[in-house]
Structures are given as C-alpha cells and as structure tokens.
Symmetry: C2
Subunit: 315 residues, 2 copies
C-alpha cells in the first residue's frame, strides 16, 4: 500500500487564438470542448509516466518528454525541486488534433492546473504560465501563448509581450456567445506559419491596429456594433482563409444569421463567430453544418459562452 | 445698423496626434495651448472674410478658402444651405505653426464650434467632424482626423476608420497629466510623412499591435504601469525621432522624473510625456527646458490635464 496516493481529474478548455485582427496577441477559452487529464501522485523517484491517452487515434506520443501534458508535469516538478514523487497520467482528448482549437495547450493546461492543485497551489500564476509557454514551444516550435494562457486562466486574454511576460485579462460582454465550427480537414500549424506575409504595408498595418484598438474598446464598452466592425483582419485572414474549405460561404451564412463576425480560430481549419445571444448561434451552426454535409465534409459545431474560469476539477 | 449681428469667441485646444504606438489612429486634446477665433455673423450674401490673424508672424493666408478656419465656416454654410449671411473672423494663434500640436486643426475646431453655436447647434457632431476632416485635407494634404476630432470633441479619441467615420472616445485616468515640450525648430508635416517606412515586418507589426491593444486596456483600467509599458512605438518613432534635437536626452530626463513615456507629438518637433501627477511633470519641464537652453534652443513647455470638454466659448 502506498504511503501517499492522491489523484485529481481536471478539465481544461479549448481556446481560440489569433482573434481576427488581434493575430498573435489575443486568445479566449471556450466552455466546450476540452481535454481531461487525470493525475495520480505517489511517493517515488521523480518519474512521470503516461498510462493512457484516448481520443487521439493513437497519434500522440506517450513519452512524457514529448507530450505537452507530460512535459508540463516534469517541468513543474523540476522547477519546484520536488524529487520524491512519481506521477502517472491518463489523458482524454476531447477535441481533434490540429484543428485550431489549442489541443496541445488544453492538455498542458489541465496537467499544470492539476499538478499545482495536488501541491496546494505551490506555484503562482505567472510561473505556471511560463511552463505553459515552454510546452507550446515543444508542441508548435514557438512559444506562443494565445492558447495556453487563456486555457489556464480562462476568459479573454491580451498578451503584450513574452519577455517579460505581460498579459491583461479583458472583459467579456455578459451575453456573448461563441459558435465554433470544425470542418474535419487538418491544417498543420507549422505549415500555416509559412504562408504568412513577412512584411505588411504600413497603411494596412495602421488600419489593422485601428481595428485592434477598437476591438479592445468594444469589449470594455460592451459595444456589439463596434465589436462587429472591429473584427476584421486585413493581413492574415486573406491568406489563410484560402486553405479553409468554403470559408466565404460559411461567413455569409453566419452573418445572415446575425453573427458579429466569422474568423479563423488559431491557424484553422476551425472558425468562430460571436453572437449576441444563443438562438441565432444555434441556427447558424445547423445551417453551416448542413452546407458542409452537402459538400461531403463532416463537421463538429459547438455553441458556448466564453469560459471565464479556466480549468475545472472534475474529480 | 444691422438687422442681425451676433458674435461669439471660441477657444479650441491644441492636440497630440500619433500617440506613440497608436500612430494615425489616436489623438487627445490639451487644456493649453490653443487658438481663439472670433466670429461675427450678419445678414448678407454668403461671404466669409478674415479680418485679422495674430500670432502667426504673418504666415497664414487671409483668403477664407485657403485658411482652415475660413474654409471650415464656408463649408458649414454651404452644407447647411445658409446663403443669407456673411461671416467675418478674427483669429488668434496661440501656438506655433508646424509644431506638431495640431495648429491648423485648433483654428478650424474653434471656427466650427463657434459657427454651429451661432446657429443653435444646427449641425450634428458627425457632420461637424466631416467638415473638420475636409479642413485637414486642405491644410496637410490628407484627411487625418487625429488632431481635428479631439480638438472638436475633447478627450482622447480612437479613430478606427474614416469611410465610414468610426471613432470612440476612450476614458482618461483622472490624475493623468501631460507635459508638452516644443523646441523652437520646425518640421513640415508633408516632409515628415515622406520618411515613413512603406512596409513593416510582420513580427514588428504584431508587437506594435500588442502595445496598442494594451494601451487601450490600460486607459480603461487606469493602469499606469501598463500604460507606461505600452507607450512604445517600434515603427514610426525610430525614424522620426532622429530629426528631433536631443530626443533621447529629453526622454532620459523625463523618465528620471517619473514620466510614463516620452513620445513625439504629431510628426514633431514637439514631444509629450504622461505623468501620474503634476509635480514631477513640472520638474521634468524645467529640467528639459534648462538642457535645451544649454544647447542654445528656446523651448515652450506646457503642463496640463487632458482637456475632456473640447472648445470653450470665451465671450
């Protein structure tokens, strides 16, 4: 019998990064979908192992060093100097990989939140986020935080800089709903970065930052009209949307159903729309899913509020 | 004796445009300096004339069509279809021309505010602003609104787009003071536009829009630390600051005195700093003025709160 054995099971949310004009600086958490990670802590020799992964069709590595959730826990123990424990993990992927929903971030966020709870919140928020950023570097090759930070914190987060880490939680209008659509086609994040322009015309950059500044003002003011007008990406979306099937048609359907926008989630192929209430979001979801079906493409749709609280202990 | 004769005298404030990272999309009004325009309305044949201009060293045109204040009044009468009046004007320039303080905008703002008051606010805000933009096109060759809009409205204004005109008044933290320094050297706005880069690296643009978004969040939250960190312009200032004498030295002095920033006002040569209270702003003002004096450069300094109310009727 173990001297010490503690378990915790944590859900962490999917996230939308690259929020339209706010490319690379903003992300938000959804209420669903998300990943579930179970951690079992025992006295031991510092080892971290992954027992099981489900929902990934066997594609994710079980070596702790190569898996974002495993890496997160190893880094946590290392940075805290906790050497006398072993952790075993069970990971349930609740969303498709490479879908633009922050899949790698959600597993890492669940693992980090869970391990920190097992040690009575021994690590503060900023340090947790720094490990989260290291996990994203492992998964995507660059330490982007617009998935991992909102997945850990919940809410809608603006990231001004990484060194030093400088982020701000922005207000979310109470009635805001998000429709997320994932067509079952895959886009690799590394590839998606390659098609970005290296330079931007100054005049276009100025229009983009007018949109970004107005997006932030709209969130503080709860101004849906301004929110809608500001959610316009002149720089990244024109390139990336070409690789997303039926993007313009989806947008037309969403806007006709009262959406404030339709924009790429992360680097796609998922897209998201904001709505002022739930009913039109659900109508748009059905209409878009129907059209995809006609084209022979399966899709997942999720209608949810913004998740303002982040990870959640399930057991 | 005239059947109808009404006069009004209006002060309109100097403004700071190109607020650091928020190039071309943000401007704010100062409490001082500013321009004063006296309007005299009589029954007549639609003529607009300028009686006198003082404080411009004889450099401004007295032909109404070529003067922003005269043009503003002519456009106002034309767009309203008011044909049975004549207006004569007296203009007192309260700030140096070509100083980066929105000199042309202040005269136009005073004239527009005054003529609209004489006609009992017959024109709404948006239409007034549109005439103001036409005045800026006359003065600067492009219809930039980051001086004229805050000069007419007061406060700190974010401009998302011109067609259609889309602007938002942002909150200003209560205790915020602005130090404005005008070294007596002249920079032409048309020239200043020429040295701008045509393109911007995407990575740099992303950092800039992180700053811009955070600047807006800092204003809403009254977060001086974030305000200071966000007031960093990576794109325009590195070029334009080269033409402003002793720019880096001014910044060092300001920051040592507790400034949140030191940035170019408009296209210079004036610069501005925000402070959390009045005393350090005045200390910085004296210290910078002393250094300029050692270099043989005269300078004007103004310490004021943000002007939240815009033009003011003096008589």
């Amino acid at each position: 019998m173990d001297v010490l054995k503690k378990t915790i099971t944590v859900f962490a949310p999917a996230t939308v990064a690259n929020v339209s004009c706010a490319f690379d600086i903003m992300g938000f958490a959804l209420s669903k979908p998300g990943d579930i990670v179970k951690l079992t802590l025992r006295k031991g020799d510092g080892g971290v192992s992954i027992n099981s992964i489900t929902g990934d069709s066997g594609r994710l590595p079980k070596e702790a060093d190569k898996n974002t959730a495993g890496f997160a826990v190893k880094e946590y123990l290392r940075r805290q100097g906790f050497k006398d424990y072993t952790i075993s993990m069970d990971i349930q992927k609740g969303m498709p990989l490479g879908s633009g929903l922050g899949s790698s971030a959600a597993s890492a966020a669940a693992a980090l939140y869970g391990i920190n709870r097992l040690f009575d919140d021994a690590m503060d928020e900023r340090e947790l986020l720094k490990i989260g950023l290291a996990c994203e570097r492992l998964a995507c090759g660059s330490p982007h935080g617009d998935n991992i930070i909102p997945s850990i914190l919940g809410g809608l987060v603006l990231i001004r800089s990484y060194v030093p880490l400088d982020y701000t939680r922005l207000p979310v209008p109470e009635g805001l709903y998000c429709l997320l659509i994932h067509p079952n086609v895959e886009v690799n994040t590394r590839d998606a970065r390659r098609i970005l322009p290296e330079t931007v015309e100054l005049s276009r950059a100025v229009r983009q930052w007018g949109n970004i500044a107005s997006l932030v003002a709209a969130l503080y003011n709860g101004d849906y009209g301004l929110l809608s007008r500001s959610l316009e990406d002149l720089i990244i979306e024109p390139e990336r949307s070409k690789r997303i099937p039926h993007f313009d048609e989806m947008r037309d359907i969403a806007m006709k159903n009262g959406a404030l926008n339709l924009s790429i989630s992360g680097s796609g192929p998922s897209v998201f729309s904001f709505f002022e209430s739930v009913q039109p979001a659900e109508s748009a979801a059905l209409a878009i899913q129907r059209v995809f079906k006609e084209y022979g493409i399966e899709s997942d749709v999720y209608v949810s509020k913004i998740n303002k609280t982040g990870p959640e202990i399930i057991r």
